[in-house]
Symmetry: C2
Subunit: 328 residues, 2 copies
């Protein structure tokens, strides 16, 4: 199987390293970063590319664009791991459409296009006999999408709820355990690289809300947008609220919830017993699917990180290789 | 997709009910219980079969045997849900071999054949272009096998450990929470239907050990038997031990563990912090996979029950329909 990787940040490089070091039988025939690209239809020399990237900041030549790669490289699967734009989905959306239109499978970690245009992309994929996989968009290394689509196939999903944002979970863990204020905990999260310089996207619940939209539209067949999610973040929580909760063996977590019966998507801080399954520590994610046959099934794991995201991408790639014939 | 169901106890009937009530597009063309069988190549009349079973104790005619069904019914997948014999695997083992040999896919909930003969069965399946699926053999409704094979594909599994037996977990939960003795808790588990009249298989850790053998042989490519598992049950645990643990915010759970590095399979009661992810309540199962890329991923859910087992069977069936072309 040959793949072309768009986006050569920590995730893109992580995928390249894993693909090469693990003897996966996958060949990388093209890579692109935001300024350059490289096509080597017999397989790129990863060490040389990484060396070049380190020296010049470029992975290839400036005249080779993602569009050029999508149109002219020799590949079976486009791995799209460029930065997310949650408002327009671009430029990733255009890349994905072009690749699917050309009959190529697509694996992406990009929340924007999946949250905004899944239905159209899925139709395009089906029309062209391709697979569109996006495990990495929700809860990083946890095989949540895959489990909901295959592992729990035949089940009616009644609710999906849990901790979808590791940054918020870290902040809340630290506020509860150490009595830190929100600002102190946020500062610590930034220093450890768990929060961005502008943490709005995480702490206001937007990241969790986008993940709910992705699950709702891709697993439940809804047609929701970010505006349909009742969203409240953790940025107004006080350490007093957490201390008060602790007196009754309770704590607070930012919970995202899809209630199928009530057709509600909601992100909000919730009070939970300290020993509740979803009260995970630090940057972990934890999600429960409430189903008619299997009952409640909970998944806990690392929701972010470049290797974890790469792990989800690799699993999607291997699944396409394994099951490709079944659909295309 | 047409299926033949061998075994018409609560699991077999559960599968039949779900397949019919959910509009799965799956047609049941044959069923057998221990004394009778029925072949209707256009699809059985489930209501009539259930009525007959209730009245006469038989699902069909006494001269129609499982072998007759395997050889002569019109079906794509054999659903093998007869009772487990952990020592010989029979008669299920023979049924599965015959069906795979005839080019039919097999889905089973039967631990015996998978624990004893997976390698030979998988070779037979591959040779005949068939799939052999067995999600229901380990942790009931939790899509653990599927996640390890597909959702975490590309990951190196370093350890698999957790709570694999709901009966023991119920007994330990009750001993810890209510200060019951082992005998009292076991009696309660029996009254609630969580423990068999002869609880040896569960409380001595044998059931958990068989699940470890299945995971080791099918996921990790080992060639282990029940004798290779260091097994200690919960039947000698005292309520004093649990009370003592509780003083330090600890508790005891029966943990099954596969350590890939040390090549050890072990089932034993272990002391864990009360807030440990694997300290689940009542009859729940909880399993953590320690991996190189995805880190630790934990799965929590119902490990037993006829509907939960049926759920795993249905997911396997739908997976075969979805991905069949990729392998056969």
């Amino acid at each position: 199987m040959k793949i072309a990787i768009l986006g050569f940040g920590s995730v893109g490089r992580g995928i390249a390293n894993i693909v090469n070091s693990k003897n996966t039988g996958i060949i990388i025939t093209a890579v692109a970063d935001s300024k350059s690209g490289l096509i080597e239809n017999n397989g790129i020399d990863l060490d040389a590319v990484l060396e070049n990237k380190k020296k010049t900041g470029l992975c290839g030549k400036e005249n080779i664009t993602p569009d050029e790669i999508i149109e002219n490289a020799d590949y079976d699967v486009l791995v799209e791991v460029t930065p997310t734009d949650a408002t327009t989905g671009e430029p990733a959306l255009g890349y994905i459409k072009k690749a699917l239109g050309a009959g190529k499978h697509v694996v992406t970690s990009n929340k924007g296009p999946i949250a905004l245009e899944y239905k159209a992309l899925k139709e395009l994929a089906d029309k062209n006999g391709c697979l569109l996989k996006y495990e990495a968009t929700v809860c990083g290394a946890i095989p949540l999408i895959h489990s909901l689509q295959y592992g729990l196939a035949g089940n009616e999903i009644k609710k999906i709820y849990g901790v979808f944002n590791g940054t918020c979970n870290y902040i809340l863990t630290r506020m509860a355990d150490e009595g830190l204020t929100y600002k102190q905990a946020l500062l610590e999260a930034r220093e450890l690289g768990y929060a961005e310089a502008d943490p709005t996207y995480d702490v206001k619940g937007i990241d969790a809300a986008i993940k709910l939209v992705i699950l709702a539209n891709t697993i439940l067949g809804y047609d929701k947008t970010l505006q349909d999610v009742e969203t409240e973040g953790i940025d107004r929580l006080t350490s007093e609220a957490l201390l008060l909760a602790a007196e009754d063996d309770l704590t607070i977590r930012l919970i995202g919830e899809i209630d199928v019966g009530k057709k509600i998507l909601r992100v909000s801080p919730r009070v939970l017993p300290k020993n509740h399954t979803l009260v995970v520590q630090d940057t972990l994610n934890a999600v429960t699917a409430e189903t008619d046959l299997a009952g409640d099934v909970t998944f806990i794991g690392k929701g972010a990180g470049s290797i974890e995201t790469a792990s989800a991408i690799i699993s999607d790639l291997l699944f396409i290789r394994e099951c490709n014939g079944g659909r295309s």
